[in-house]
């Protein structure tokens, strides 16, 4: 059973809970209230709230303002900040609102030491808006007839409050509806803008603590237009092999503004753009002929525009379009050379004519065929033989003699200039002198001295030497004033045979050859030595030269190392041309071990050991 005291406490509690703040219901009279209700405060300012008790509440016994306890979010506010104004009003002061949080409650300690909540308010702390800065606007052409103006600005520091931004604009005698940004606070787009009137634009930021206005921007929207790029770009070819014509549609009428253009172009596959000089496209037009292009080449074009007087913004580059220039005659004859095989009989030659396909910028089109003309110069009555070939080589059987071979490449427009090769009966003219090579990092330089001043061209042949296959010739022709070239694609550690021929107007010099390595290494194998004949005090050693694949360089010498089981090793150096050597002054009836080393400029390698035993008795013994 509850005691009487408990009933009073219970009743008191019941009354107070009925009285607890429920501002929205309005049905129950609360015990007190706080002013101000739901304030919005500036950060760092000071703030005082009052809790005012209702007279009716005081009747419930011993409730005075002095018993009020203020709490922020259930943390008690220190009593130093309270002030009892009178019996029913208590105030709390905060010197710096940074220490405030929400909610702020006014509570009372009732008789039974029960803390009761009387009222609460939500406190919002924030900052007034900063003046919006850096307002800038641009008019985007969105379609053929619509232009939208987008303005952006710097909204300033975070306010911690709900801050509304509005973009406002007007003419001197006309005010327009505000532009309210959607989802952002730093830009707004006006759907339709009028041209040729100075428009004043500014931004206003408003929140519960104040309003800030940006500096106004005064601009005629026609001066801040970014147009759409020119549309329906098309390329026309077929006038000249070096010309292509660009045609497009402008989507801004002259009544709005006149345009100037930039045209850029590049070869398909290239990354570098070339530009038509802007002065040439600085006025209104809908087409342009680009000149100085390469024949039979595919180009990519793109164009952009802006207001002719340069006030405003360039449009984006238009969609890229490609076009191909028409073909032109080839500009050069293909370089031509020959390999003569006299193995069958010296009087009957098998002549392999070889030439190189023209590079695209020399071919100027698709080469349909090559036309060879072979003229026997030693027999004037002999008819000229003509051959049409689609490959880059041709083999003829010719009687020993002097021949003039002419080669042209033909495309759909016409023939190239002729390339002429003289095949003399013998290479009797002066050869080059002082043929030498020098490895240069990743290229092999070949140099020579000109025999005289009459050389027209030089032919350099090179081939990879191999023990298992033929030496496949690669070749290059250079002009007669050149006395050295770099050969590319030379592999290291491989032996190349290089031959240079001088070509004259009336003959050819004999070829001078040299072997060369780009880089040398030690041999990959050592020589395998064995004995050919062993005597009492001598032994004839024999070995095979290393194959060119095993050498990896020029063999400078061989070294023979031999010893007995307990003796010192004897070392003998042997000339690299030799394949035999006789060891002498050996001890009879002794086991010898011998091995051989081959050395290049870059190292040596030793072959397997070979053991032999000298004889006990000599021949005659």
């Amino acid at each position: 059973m509850f005691s009487r005291w408990n009933w009073v406490a219970y009743g008191f509690y019941l009354v107070l809970s009925i009285c607890s703040p429920d501002a929205s219901s309005g049905l129950v009279q609360s015990c007190g209230h706080i002013i101000p209700e739901s304030p919005v405060l500036a950060l760092g300012s000071n703030f005082t709230a009052l809790c005012i008790l209702n007279e009716s509440c005081l009747d419930f016994g011993n409730i005075y303002a002095s018993q009020i306890i203020w709490k922020i979010k259930n943390r008690v506010v220190p009593k130093e900040q309270y002030r009892e104004i009178n019996r029913t009003v208590s105030s709390v002061t905060f010197n710096d609102t940074s220490s405030l949080a929400t909610p702020l409650t006014c509570n009372i300690l009732a008789d039974g030491q029960i803390e009761q909540n009387i009222y609460g308010i939500t406190v919002t702390v924030g900052l007034p808006p900063e003046k919006p800065k850096n307002l800038s606007c641009i008019v985007h052409q969105e379609s053929r007839f619509t232009y939208a103006m987008t303005c952006t600005w710097n909204p300033g520091r975070h306010t911690f409050l709900d801050t509304q931004f509005r973009l406002r604009y007007r003419w001197p005698e006309q005010i327009f509806p505000d532009c309210i940004p959607k989802d952002v606070n730093n830009s707004c787009t006006i759907d339709d803008s009028q041209f040729f009137v100075n428009t004043e634009i500014w931004v206003e930021a408003t929140n519960a603590l104040g309003k800030a206005v940006s500096d106004p921007l005064v601009v005629d929207p026609i001066d801040i237009v970014k147009p759409l790029p020119p549309q329906n770009v098309s390329i026309t070819s077929g006038l000249l092999p070096t010309v292509l014509q660009l045609v497009w549609e402008n989507w801004i009428s002259d009544a709005v503004m006149t345009l100037k253009f930039n045209i850029r172009y590049r070869i398909v596959g290239d990354t570098n753009w070339m530009e038509v000089p802007p002065e040439d496209t600085a006025s209104p037009r809908t087409s342009f002929s680009i000149q100085g292009l390469r024949p039979y080449t595919e180009y990519v074009f793109s164009i952009r525009c802006m207001k002719e007087d340069g006030v405003g913004y360039w449009s984006d580059w238009s969609e890229e379009k490609t076009g191909i220039t028409i073909e032109d005659q080839p500009s050069k004859g293909p370089p031509i050379w020959r390999i003569i095989d006299t193995s069958q009989s010296p009087a009957c030659w098998t002549v392999h004519l070889i030439w190189k396909a023209l590079k695209p910028y020399e071919a100027n089109g698709v080469i349909l065929q090559y036309e060879l003309t072979v003229r026997d110069k030693s027999s004037l009555s002999s008819p000229v033989k003509k051959y049409n070939v689609t490959s880059t080589n041709y083999t003829l059987q010719l009687r020993e003699g002097t021949y003039e071979v002419t080669l042209i490449a033909r495309n759909s427009v016409g023939p190239s200039p002729p390339s002429v090769l003289l095949i003399p009966a013998s290479n009797s003219k002066a050869p080059v002198k002082n043929l030498r090579t020098l490895p240069k990092h990743d290229k092999l330089w070949v140099g020579w001295t000109a025999p005289n001043n009459y050389v027209l061209k030089y032919v350099i042949e090179w081939c990879l030497m191999s023990s298992s296959s033929d030496c496949i010739i690669e070749w290059q022709i250079v002009l007669g004033d050149v006395q050295g070239i770099d050969l590319k694609g030379i592999k290291p550690f491989k032996c190349y045979l290089i031959t240079v021929y001088p070509l004259y107007a009336d003959g050819q010099g004999s070829g001078q050859s040299v072997k060369a390595y780009l880089k040398q290494d030690r041999p990959s194998k050592g020589p395998t030595v064995q004995t050919k004949k062993v005597g009492k005090a001598e032994a004839v050693l024999t070995w095979n030269h290393l194959t060119v694949e095993e050498q990896n360089g020029f063999i400078r010498n061989y070294t023979i190392l031999y010893k007995t089981i307990d003796g010192n090793e004897t070392v003998v150096t042997v000339d690299p041309s030799k394949t035999e050597y006789t060891l002498s002054s050996l001890t009879s009836d002794t086991l010898y071990t011998v091995r051989m080393m081959a050395s290049t400029d870059n190292g040596s390698r030793t072959g397997p050991d070979f053991t032999f035993t000298t004889q006990k008795f000599g021949k005659a013994e």
Binding site: W171, P172, Q174, Q194, F195, F196, N198
Partner: protein, 202 residues
């Protein structure tokens, strides 16, 4: 007496004239486009001849070269103020006829109306530059219900459409005339430093 002009005033006049000329040019292009849409939308015959509509100022004028610059400005201003009222009325009629149905035509009309307002403002500024008072507008916001003439009788729907056609056609003509007038105004002055034709009208 024409006062000598300060350099800044001359610059401002040149700027107003050049922008006014471009605005008039664009206005004309927009009105021509609007005419095509209007004729189609209203179901009119494009070649229908419309009698001079009451209240619509005529662009053609005799003895144009005898006018002073001020006279031209005043005539232009009166015309565009009249057009402003007429176009506003057309917009109202549009909304009554179609509700919000044809937003495109309504928007185009509103855009032309804005340009007409802007052009009227250019003219007022040019008049102010000459230290010439800008005449007040007649019977605009303050409706003189007791003193003024009785409001014109409501036109039938078809008459409204024809009237609209007449308004737009005449506005297109005015735009051409305004360009000529402003070009004349913008010409650099001969000896005195004052622009030609700015002498006070007699």
């Amino acid at each position: 007496m024409a006062a000598a002009e300060s350099p800044s005033a001359a610059l401002r006049r040149r700027d107003l004239c050049s922008r006014g000329i471009r605005l008039a040019g664009k206005m004309r292009a927009d009105v021509v486009d609007l005419l095509d849409a209007y004729v189609e939308q209203q179901g009119l015959d494009a070649s229908a001849s419309v009698a001079a509509v009451e209240g619509v100022p005529l662009a053609a004028v005799e003895r144009w070269d005898e006018q002073t610059g001020t006279q031209r400005l005043l005539e232009n201003l009166a015309a565009y103020r009249a057009f402003r009222a007429l176009l506003a009325q057309m917009l109202e009629e549009q909304r009554e006829q179609l509700g919000e149905a044809d937003a495109g035509l309504g928007r185009a009309l509103a855009a032309v109306l804005l340009q007409v307002s802007a052009f009227a403002y250019h003219l007022e500024e040019l008049l102010r530059l000459e230290s010439r008072g800008v005449p007040g507008e007649e019977g605009d916001e303050e409706e003189e219900e007791e003193d003024g003439p009785p409001p014109p009788p409501r036109l039938s729907l078809f008459e409204q459409k024809l009237r609209g056609l007449g308004v737009l056609r005449e506005l297109a003509q005015w735009a051409v005339r305004s360009v000529r007038d402003l070009r004349q105004l913008a010409k650099p002055s001969p000896a005195t430093g004052a622009a030609p034709g700015l002498a006070e009208s007699p």
